[in-house]
C-alpha cells in the first residue's frame, strides 16, 4: 500500500466516526490538561527562580557553613580585584521586652540575621522607613518583621530585648530578597549588626549559628571568572566540614531540587488521571470498532490484509490522540492561568507563563502515547474480524494469534512504565508507580466485577419497578458499567484518601498532645543555668521534665581512616552523617524508647579512658559505615577522643523523647565543654508563660514548641495535599467522562429501550426514574469501592506512615459516597438526554 493511498483510506475511514469519538477526546484531554498544568507550572516557577537567581542569592557567590567561614577564603579570592564581601550569621533566638512590673513581658521566637557589610548586593530588601539596612543598623538598633512588634506590643522606636540586651527598633522589614515565601520559618525576622550581636554573647554560648559569606564580583565579570572564583574557594575549604559554595548561575539548586521533587510527585498524580482517561479511550475505541466490524470485513473481503487494516485504525487513534492532546494542552494552559486566582498565597501570578514548549510537548507525547497504548487491546480485535461476516453476521471470529495478546500486554506495561519513568524522572519510581496502579486497578476491577456478579444473583422481585430496572441494567452482561466504575472509583480513592489523611493529621494536632509526649524542647542551656531553667518550667506547670548534657564534637576518623578520605568515597548526599556536627550525650541507662539490637551496653569491663565506649543508633551506624567493634575518633573542641562501638540500638523517634545517635558511657565526657538539652510537657497556657520567663531570665535559652512546629509542618502538608486533591479531581472528571461515554456509546440500544418502555405506557418521567436508578447504582458501587479503597489507603498512611491512632470519619465517607452518586446521576442523565427525547415511532420504525 502506497503512503498516499494509506492516508486517503485513513481519512475516508474516519468519516462518520468523528462525532462518536467526542468522548475519546474528552477523556484524553482531561488527563493531558492535568499533565500540562503540572509541568507548565513547575517550568514557570523554575524559570522564575533562574531569572531571579541573583536576587534570591543576594550575591554572585555565597559560602554557607555551620562553622565560621575560614580566613583562607580571603587568600583564595585575593586575585579578584574589586571584590565586595558581606558576612551573615543566622540563628534562632528569643526576643522579648523588659518588664515594668517585675513580671516577664511577652516573648517570641525570632530568626536572627546578623549583617556585617552591605546587604543585599542584588535584589531589594524593602524596609520601612525606606533606607538601606546599614544606615538603620548600629550596635544599639535592630530592624524586625512587623509581626514581631505586634506580638510584643511595641512599635518602631521602642526597645526590645534580644539575647538579653536592649535594641531600639529602627524600622520594619517588608520583604527580603533571599527569604522564599513558601519556605518553613520558625519566627519573624530580626536584623542585628555585628557589633550589636557581639553585645548579646549569644554566639559564645554555643547557640547554633550558621555562617554565610556573600560576594559581589566587579561589574562586568564573566561566568568563567565567577566559576573560577567558586572553584578557588572550594579548593581551600575543608571537605569534612559542611561548607556549601553556590553561585547565582546555579540558580538555587536546593530550592529547585525541592520544586522538582514536588513536580515529580504531582506529575505522577496527573499521569494517573491520564491513565484513567486511557480507560475511557479503550472503551471509546471498543464501542467505535463494534460499529466498524462490517466495514472491516468488507475491506478484508476486497483483499486488504489485516496488517494493512490495523495501521489504518491505529492511525485513526493517532489522529484522535493528537486532537485530544491539543484540546488538553489548551485546557492545561488555561488551568495555569486560573491557578494563581485559586491559590493566591501559593502561586504568584506574575511568575506564570503557560507558554512552556517542553511542558506542552510532554502533554502531547503522553497524550498521544496513552491514546495509542490504551487503544491497542481493543484494536487487536481488528485482526480477528472474520471476512465471512459479509455473508453471515454471526461468523465466528478468526482464531487468536498466540503472540498478539502477550505482545499487547507487554507493550502496554512497558509503555505505562516508560511514561511513569518520564514523569518521575526515575525508572525505579516509574516501575513502583506502574505496579501500584496495576494492583489498585486490578483490585477495583475485581471488586466491581464481584459486585456486578452479586447483583446478577440478587433476587429483584422485592424492589420497586425503578430499582428493578436499575439493578437489571447494572447486571446486564457486557454493561458499560465496569470501566466507568473502576475509573470513577479510582478518582474517589485519590481525592478522598488524600483528604482523609490530611483531616486526620489536622485533628490529631488540634487535639491535646498524647499525655506522655513532651510539648517543648529547650536548647542551648548552659550547665549552670539548668537549676534555674528547671524551676521556671515547674513554675509554669511543666511535667515530665527531662534534661541531658550535650557535647558537640566532630568525627575525625573511623577505624583509623580519616573522615576526609571516607567522604571522598561517598556520594554527595550520603556525606552528611560523617561531616555534621555530632551531638554526644552520656548516660548510664538508655531511655525506654531505645532497644539494643546488637552487642551489649557498656560491656567492656576496662574502665580506662582508652576503652571508652559508645552506643550507636543502628541506621546512623550504617550511614557512616561503622560496625560493632569499630573505633570512632572524635575531636571535641580540639581534644581528641577515641570511642569503641560496643552496642547498636534502634530508637522509636515518634515519642518525641530526647534521643541521640551517639550515647557515650558515663565517666568520659563529664568535664568536656557542654550544654544541656531539655524536654518538658507544658499545659497549653503554660508554654507562653515559660517562654516569657525564660526570655527574661535566660535569654540565650531557646524554647521550641512542638505544637507550633507541627502546625507549620501541617501547613506545608496541607498545601501538598491541596495540589494532590486538585489533580485527583481531574481523575474524577475523567471517570465521569468515561461514564458519559459508556452511556452514549449504548445510546441506540438505550433509545430502543426508551421506545419500548414508552410503548408499554411508561411516561418520560418514569423512564428517567429507571435511568436515575441505574446511574445511582453505578455511582453507589463506584463510590463504595472508592471510599473503601480511600479508607484502606488512609488507614495505612495514618497508622504506618505517621504512626498515629486511626479514627473513622463517617461524615467524609458519606459525603464522598453521596457526591459520587449525584455526579453519576447528573452525568448519566445528561448523556442519555437524547435517548430520553426520542419518540417511540422513530426508533421502532428503523428496526
Amino acid at each position: 500500500m502506497s503512503p498516499g493511498f494509506f492516508l486517503r483510506t485513513l481519512l475516508r475511514e474516519s468519516r462518520g466516526s468523528r462525532g462518536r469519538l467526542t468522548f475519546f477526546i474528552a477523556c484524553l484531554a482531561v488527563g493531558v490538561s492535568a499533565v500540562v498544568a503540572v509541568a507548565g507550572l513547575s517550568a514557570s516557577l523554575d524559570q522564575g527562580i533562574r531569572r531571579e537567581a541573583r536576587q534570591l542569592l543576594a550575591a554572585d557567590l555565597a559560602i554557607r557553613g555551620s562553622q565560621p567561614i575560614p580566613p583562607a577564603v580571603n587568600g583564595a579570592l585575593a586575585h579578584v580585584s574589586g571584590l565586595q564581601r558581606t558576612n551573615l550569621r543566622e540563628t534562632v533566638t528569643v526576643a522579648t521586652v523588659s518588664s515594668r512590673d517585675g513580671r516577664p513581658g511577652p516573648s517570641q521566637l525570632v530568626e536572627l540575621k546578623v549583617v556585617d557589610g552591605v546587604y543585599p548586593f542584588y535584589g531589594k530588601l524593602v524596609l520601612k522607613p525606606a533606607r538601606p539596612l546599614h544606615e538603620l543598623l548600629n550596635a544599639r538598633t535592630t530592624v524586625v518583621g512587623s509581626e514581631l512588634l505586634a506580638r510584643l506590643g511595641r512599635k518602631v522606636g521602642d526597645d526590645i530585648l534580644i539575647g538579653g540586651q536592649p535594641f531600639r527598633v529602627a524600622g520594619t522589614v517588608v520583604s527580603e530578597p533571599d527569604r522564599v515565601s513558601i519556605s518553613f520559618t520558625l519566627g519573624p525576622r530580626a536584623f542585628l549588626s555585628g557589633e550589636g550581636f557581639a553585645r548579646t554573647s549569644l554566639e559564645g554560648q554555643g547557640s547554633r549559628v550558621s555562617y554565610r559569606a556573600l560576594f559581589k564580583l566587579p561589574e562586568g565579570s564573566t561566568a568563567a571568572e565567577l566559576n573560577a572564583a567558586a572553584s578557588a574557594v572550594k579548593d581551600i575549604l575543608p571537605v569534612n566540614e559542611n561548607y556549601r559554595v553556590e553561585t547565582y548561575r546555579q540558580a538555587q539548586p536546593a530550592l529547585r531540587e525541592n520544586l522538582s521533587r514536588i513536580e515529580r510527585f504531582l506529575g505522577l498524580v496527573a499521569l494517573l488521571s491520564l491513565f484513567v482517561g486511557g480507560i475511557g479511550v479503550a472503551q471509546s475505541v471498543r464501542a467505535w470498532l463494534t460499529g466498524r466490524l462490517d466495514s472491516i470485513a468488507i475491506l478484508k473481503c476486497l483483499g486488504m490484509r489485516p496488517r494493512e487494516i490495523f495501521p489504518l485504525y491505529l492511525g485513526q487513534t493517532l489522529l484522535l490522540g493528537l486532537a485530544g492532546s491539543l484540546v488538553g494542552i489548551v485546557a492545561g494552559a488555561a488551568v495555569q492561568l486560573f491557578l494563581p486566582r485559586l491559590f493566591p498565597d501559593l502561586i504568584p501570578a506574575e511568575l506564570i507563563n503557560p507558554w512552556q514548549p517542553v511542558a506542552l510537548l510532554r502533554g502531547l507525547a503522553l497524550g498521544v502515547g496513552v491514546a495509542l497504548l490504551f487503544s491497542l487491546p481493543p484494536l487487536s480485535a481488528v485482526l480477528r474480524v472474520p471476512p465471512a461476516r459479509v455473508l453471515r453476521r454471526d461468523a465466528e471470529p478468526l482464531p487468536r494469534h498466540r503472540w498478539v495478546a502477550s505482545a499487547t500486554i507487554l507493550i502496554l506495561g512497558l509503555g505505562i512504565w516508560g511514561m511513569a519513568a518520564l514523569q518521575s524522572h526515575s525508572p525505579r519510581l516509574g516501575a513502583e508507580f506502574t505496579g501500584g496502579v496495576a494492583l489498585v486497578t486490578a483490585l477495583l476491577a475485581g471488586t466491581a466485577l464481584l459486585v456486578i456478579w452479586l447483583v446478577r444473583r440478587l433476587p429483584r422481585d422485592f424492589a420497586s419497578l425503578w430499582l428493578r430496572q436499575g439493578l437489571a441494567a447494572l447486571a446486564r452482561p457486557g454493561a458499560a458499567g465496569t470501566s466507568a466504575i473502576v475509573a470513577l472509583g479510582l478518582g474517589v480513592l485519590v481525592v478522598l484518601g488524600m483528604s482523609l489523611v490530611q483531616q486526620r493529621l489536622a485533628a490529631q494536632l488540634s487535639a491535646e498532645m498524647p499525655s506522655n509526649a513532651p510539648s517543648a524542647f529547650l536548647v542551648d542551656i548552659q550547665p549552670d543555668q539548668w537549676p534555674g531553667v528547671e524551676k521556671v518550667l515547674h513554675d509554669a506547670g511543666a511535667t515530665g521534665v527531662e534534661s541531658v548534657p550535650v557535647v558537640m564534637a566532630r568525627l575525625s576518623a573511623i577505624d583509623g581512616v580519616k573522615v576526609e578520605q571516607l567522604v571522598e568515597r561517598r556520594e554527595r548526599d550520603r556525606r552528611w552523617g560523617l561531616t555534621r556536627e555530632q551531638r554526644l550525650t552520656y548516660m548510664k541507662e538508655l531511655p525506654k524508647d531505645n532497644k539494643i539490637v546488637e552487642g551489649k551496653l557498656w560491656s567492656d569491663p576496662d574502665p580506662s579512658p582508652a576503652h571508652a565506649e559508645v552506643s550507636l543508633e543502628k541506621e546512623f551506624a550504617e550511614g557512616i559505615g561503622a560496625r560493632l567493634g569499630s573505633t570512632l575518633s572524635f575531636d571535641i573542641q580540639g581534644v581528641p577522643l577515641d570511642l569503641k562501638v560496643t552496642s547498636l540500638r534502634t530508637v522509636n523517634w515518634q515519642t518525641f523523647g530526647i534521643n541521640f545517635f551517639l550515647v557515650v558511657e558515663p565517666g568520659v565526657l563529664e568535664s568536656a565543654p557542654q550544654q544541656r538539652l531539655a524536654v518538658a510537657r507544658l499545659p497549653k497556657g503554660g508554654e507562653q508563660r515559660a517562654q516569657d520567663a525564660l526570655a527574661a531570665g535566660y535569654p540565650n535559652v531557646t524554647m521550641l514548641r512542638i505544637r507550633e512546629i507541627l502546625e507549620k509542618v501541617l501547613k506545608v502538608l496541607q498545601r501538598i495535599s491541596l495540589g494532590i486533591r486538585f489533580l485527583g479531581g481531574f481523575t474524577v472528571v475523567a471517570g465521569i467522562a468515561i461514564l458519559a461515554g459508556a452511556i452514549s456509546a449504548g445510546s441506540s440500544r438505550r433509545g430502543r429501550e426508551v421506545a419500548l418502555l414508552k410503548t408499554l405506557g411508561m411516561t418520560r418521567r418514569g423512564v428517567a426514574a429507571t435511568f436515575t436508578a441505574e446511574y445511582a447504582l453505578i455511582g453507589l458501587v463506584a463510590g463504595g469501592i472508592g471510599t473503601a479503597g480511600a479508607t484502606a489507603l488512609a488507614y495505612g498512611v495514618i497508622t504506618r506512615g505517621f504512626q498515629i491512632p486511626w479514627q473513622l470519619d463517617p461524615l467524609s465517607l458519606a459525603v464522598a459516597l453521596g457526591g459520587t452518586v449525584v455526579l453519576a446521576v447528573v452525568a448519566g442523565l445528561a448523556a442519555s438526554y437524547r435517548a430520553l427525547q426520542r419518540r417511540p415511532i422513530e426508533v421502532l420504525r428503523t428496526e
Binding site: 500500500m1 502506497s2 493511498f5 486517503r8 483510506t9 475516508r12 475511514e13 474516519s14 468519516r15 462518520g16 466516526s17 462490517d294 466495514s295 468488507i298 475491506l299 478484508k300 473481503c301 476486497l302 483483499g303 486488504m304 490484509r305 489485516p306 496488517r307 494493512e308 485482526l383 472474520p386 471476512p387 465471512a388 459479509v390 455473508l391 453471515r392 461468523a395 478468526l398
Partner: protein, 242 residues
C-alpha cells in the same frame, strides 16, 4: 490442458451447533473453467453461501481442498488469502456491502487503488458510467436506492478486473424490475471482461441465465446441469451426477 480456474476437492465444512457438529458442506467436488458462468441453486441451509465463502478464502474448510489457478488456498495465511482476493476475486452480495463512509466512487476506487493500477479515477468513472451511475459518484450509499447500491457494488466487483466473480443472491434484496436490470448489467460486464462467474441464487429464473446449474441439497451436490454446448475437452466434471 488448461488448468481449471477453481477446483474443489472433497470440500467439507462442519460447524459446532449447540454441542453437536452440523455438516454444512459434505465432500463436495466441483471444477469451474475459466470464463464459465455457473449458478448454484438450492433451498436455504443447503450450503450455497458457505461454498462461496470457502471458494473466496473467507472461511476455512474442515477438510478438503480449494485450488485456485492450480494453487491450494486452504493453508494460506489471512494475509495470503487477502492478497488472493485482491488479485483474483470480486464479490457481489445480497446486502450490497458497500462501505458506508465512502462515496460511490470511492467504493469503486478502493480495489483499484489496492492493486496500485494506473488511472484509478478514470477506471472508476468508466465503470460507474457502465452501470449508469456516472452522475452519482459523489453520493454516499445511504443516499442511493437499493438498486443503485447494487450497481455500485457491481462496478466495484469488476473494478480490479478479477478473473473470478462470486455473487451471493445479488438480486435477493431488489424488486423484480430492478433485479433484472442488475442481472443484465452483471452478465453484460462478465461477458465483456471474460470473468468466471459463480452465482448463488434460489431463483430458477436467475439461474436460467447461467450456462451451468449446480443444485445443492443438505451440503451435497444433488445435480450438476452442464451447459448445453459441450464442455471443453478434457474437463472432467466430477461430482454426483444424477
Amino acid at each position: 490442458m488448461n488448468l481449471p480456474r477453481i477446483e474443489l476437492r472433497q470440500l467439507t465444512r462442519k460447524l459446532p451447533s449447540g454441542g453437536r457438529e452440523l455438516t454444512i458442506l459434505d465432500r463436495v467436488d466441483l471444477t469451474f473453467q475459466a470464463g464459465e458462468f455457473a449458478a448454484v441453486l438450492g433451498p436455504s441451509g443447503s450450503g450455497k453461501s458457505t461454498l462461496l465463502a470457502l471458494m473466496a478464502g473467507l472461511d476455512r474448510p474442515t477438510s478438503g481442498e480449494v485450488i485456485i489457478d492450480g494453487t491450494p488456498i486452504q493453508a494460506m495465511s489471512e494475509d495470503g488469502l487477502a492478497l488472493l482476493r485482491r488479485h483474483k476475486i470480486g464479490f457481489v452480495f445480497q446486502s450490497f456491502q458497500l462501505l458506508g463512509n465512502l462515496t460511490a466512487r470511492e467504493n469503486v476506487l478502493l480495489p483499484i487503488e489496492l492493486l496500485g493500477q494506473p488511472d484509478p479515477v478514470g477506471r472508476a468513472n468508466e465503470l460507474l458510467a457502465a452501470v449508469g451511475l456516472d452522475d452519482r459518484g459523489h453520493h454516499y450509499p445511504s443516499q442511493l436506492s437499493g438498486g443503485e447500491q447494487q450497481r455500485v457494488a457491481l462496478a466495484r466487483a469488476f473494478a480490479a478486473r478479477p478473473p473470478i466473480l462470486l455473487a451471493d443472491e445479488p438480486t435477493g434484496n431488489l424488486d423484480g424490475a430492478t433485479g433484472r436490470k442488475v442481472l443484465e448489467l452483471l452478465t453484460e460486464l462478465r461477458r465483456r471482461e471474460g470473468t468466471t462467474l459463480v452465482l448463488v441464487t434460489h431463483d430458477p429464473a436467475v439461474a436460467a441465465l447461467a450456462g451451468r446449474r449446480i443444485h445443492l441439497l443438505d451440503g451435497r451436490v444433488e445435480r450438476d446441469e452442464l451447459p448445453v454446448p459441450a464442455v471443453p475437452a478434457g474437463s472432467a466434471v466430477t461430482g454426483a451426477l444424477v
